[in-house]
């Protein structure tokens, strides 16, 4: 029956990250913060980041929402922690391509690691926004960081 397809979206990694989110909580001394909301469903994510010497020294998120938005935020923080800002933004772009059904570099895919699994959301167009929320917020924070 139709529900079987659910396993493709709600893979173990996703469920696990939703149940046990990594880097959830407010970080100390953030250099940038951004809250984004999906007005249609009320999903809310606030990301905070501490950039030190061009590198992401700390990152965290708070908020509430569906399994996908929470898991995606958790996976993102894991991927971006420690990356330099340029790489981080490249990966955010790659993730954004992936979830819209696009192809990405093998290297980027490897760097995304578990987060690349969220790419399966591409087959669930109604949920792409949920997956994208945290990454969009982070991109805006890093954009500001780079510009300032």
């Amino acid at each position: 029956m139709g529900l079987a397809k659910l396993n493709e979206l709600y893979k173990t990694v996703i469920i696990d990250n939703a149940n046990y989110p990594r880097h959830k909580g407010q970080i100390a001394d953030p250099t940038g913060e951004m809250q984004l909301k999906n007005p249609t469903c009320g999903d809310l994510i606030k990301v905070s980041v501490k950039v030190d010497d061009g590198k992401i020294a700390d990152v965290g998120f708070t908020g509430s929402g569906c399994t996908i938005s929470q898991a995606s935020a958790s996976l993102m923080t894991t991927v971006l922690m420690g990356k330099d800002v340029k790489t981080a933004r490249r990966l955010i772009l790659a993730f954004s391509k992936l979830i819209s059904g696009g192809d990405i570099d093998d290297e980027d895919e490897e760097l995304l690691g578990d987060a690349a699994i969220v790419g399966s959301v591409a087959e669930f167009p109604t949920r792409i926004k949920c997956a994208a929320l945290a990454w969009h917020a982070m991109d805006e924070v890093l954009d500001k960081t780079q510009k300032s």
Partner: protein
């Protein structure tokens, strides 16, 4: 499988398709309804034979278009028992109707210190336009509360509506709580305090017999797309003497009587409100939708939907860990069923149902003040129309149980700070 009221299901080609490999069960009728073949044929016929701009031409097509456009207005008037075609203004939607009432009549009537009374269960379209009037006029926007059961608290209504009240604006039926509000009583209450009564009929007009003269409302607003007609056409009913006094909010095109370089004046109601080329095919198709509804009979539609609710609601409330909003007495409940499953985010539930071919809505349903009031961020909502069946209700109930199980055993007790 049964075929809905009077086998009407077969008139809706869209319902006969698979979604995600399962037969579609469309339960998002409170958002918009599907369109019967007869309405689609009306649109096609219009564009293949009669299309022209209305009120403007002396040629044959223009006359045919005008004739059909105005005949549809008469059908709308008869459908809600309005006194004449002059009380029926074509708009885009309920939202536009309510905005016109608020921004023209509302801003003209409400003065500093006055009060506007709405309720905790209103749709944004019957909230934000009044917030704007309150802000513009330095007036106060007050809310009538709900009973524990989710019904309008009429004791509170009697407290909130006072001699300071200028306008009372309430949904005839709720798009979340599944209740029908006592508009006639509210109108009496409003009029006793010399206030005007505005009813938002978006969720009532498609499902029950509406009689604006019996309700004695001053304004009534509804949308074609929630009652078998296409998108882009809505209705604003107003009492004739009120519409006569009310200023248009848009200007230009055929609403005009005379234009000189520095001044202009308007035609009479309802035409003075209809600036520019209106949604002609939409209006004519609304007429056709009304023919279809009349043919089924509004009382039959209400009765059939009541049967579906009588069947579904008790089974739904029995699901372990479910919260069903609104009255639990099926007799008090419309075919709009809002609920949450414990520990599951409504979006995840809706995706689960979608994978099973079942279309429900998840979100705040444009009723954020109500969500605040209920202290939840979002709900799932299944909403029936006369083409739905008990078999479909069963598919919903079964799927809900499976979704629950999937998230419980499949892998997860997936989070959610809902």
């Amino acid at each position: 499988m049964s075929k809905g009221l009077n086998d009407s299901r077969t008139d809706f080609p869209i319902l006969d398709q698979e979604v995600n490999g399962e037969p579609l069960v469309y339960l998002d009728n409170a958002a918009t309804t599907q369109k019967p073949v007869s309405v689609l044929q009306t649109i096609m016929h219009y564009y293949e034979h009669d299309n022209a701009n209305v009120h403007r031409g002396v040629h044959t097509l223009a006359e045919r278009a005008t004739e059909q456009f105005e005949a549809a207005r008469d059908k709308v008037a008869a459908f809600i028992n309005a006194p004449s075609r002059k009380t029926i203004v074509y708009t885009r939607s309920t939202t536009e109707s309510l905005n016109w009432i608020a921004s023209s009549f509302g801003n003209a009537m409400v003065n500093e210190g006055d009060e506007i009374v709405i309720s905790e269960l209103e749709h944004h379209s019957n909230v934000v336009p009044w917030q704007q009037v309150a802000k513009n006029q330095h007036a106060t926007l007050k809310y009538i509360g709900l009973t524990a059961d989710g019904e309008l608290d009429m004791d509170d209504a009697r407290k909130q509506i006072t001699d300071k009240t200028k306008i009372v604006a309430i949904a005839h039926a709720s798009n979340v709580m599944g209740v029908v509000n006592p508009i006639k009583e509210l109108a009496q209450l409003a009029h006793a305090h010399n206030a005007y009564m505005v009813a938002d009929g978006a969720q009532s007009t498609p499902h029950l017999k509406v009689d604006v003269q019996d309700l004695d409302v001053d304004f009534y607003a509804f949308s074609g797309h929630k009652m078998l007609a296409p998108t882009g056409i809505g209705i604003l009913y107003g009492k004739p003497e009120i519409l006569d006094e009310m200023e248009p909010t848009q200007f230009g095109g055929e609403m005009i009587n005379e234009v000189h370089e520095q001044a202009a004046d308007w035609k009479e109601s309802p035409w003075k409100f209809e600036a520019g080329t209106p949604n002609i095919s939409g209006a004519i198709a609304l007429g056709s939708a009304i023919d279809y509804l009349n043919n089924l009979g509004m009382d039959n539609i209400s009765a059939y939907e009541q049967e579906l609710v009588d069947y579904t609601l008790p089974k739904l409330t029995q699901i372990d860990g479910i919260t069903v909003y609104g009255p639990h007495d099926p007799a008090k409940h419309t075919g709009v069923l809002s609920f949450n499953l414990e520990g599951l985010h409504p979006h995840d539930v809706a995706t689960g149902l979608d994978m099973d071919g079942i279309a429900v809505r998840a979100g705040h349903h444009c009723a954020q003040p109500l969500m605040e009031y209920l202290s939840c961020e979002a709900t799932c909502r299944a909403s029936f129309y006369f083409y739905n069946t008990k078999e479909e209700a069963d598919r919903l109930l079964d799927a809900l149980n499976e979704v629950k199980e999937f998230f419980a055993n499949g892998t997860s007790k997936a989070e959610r700070t809902v």
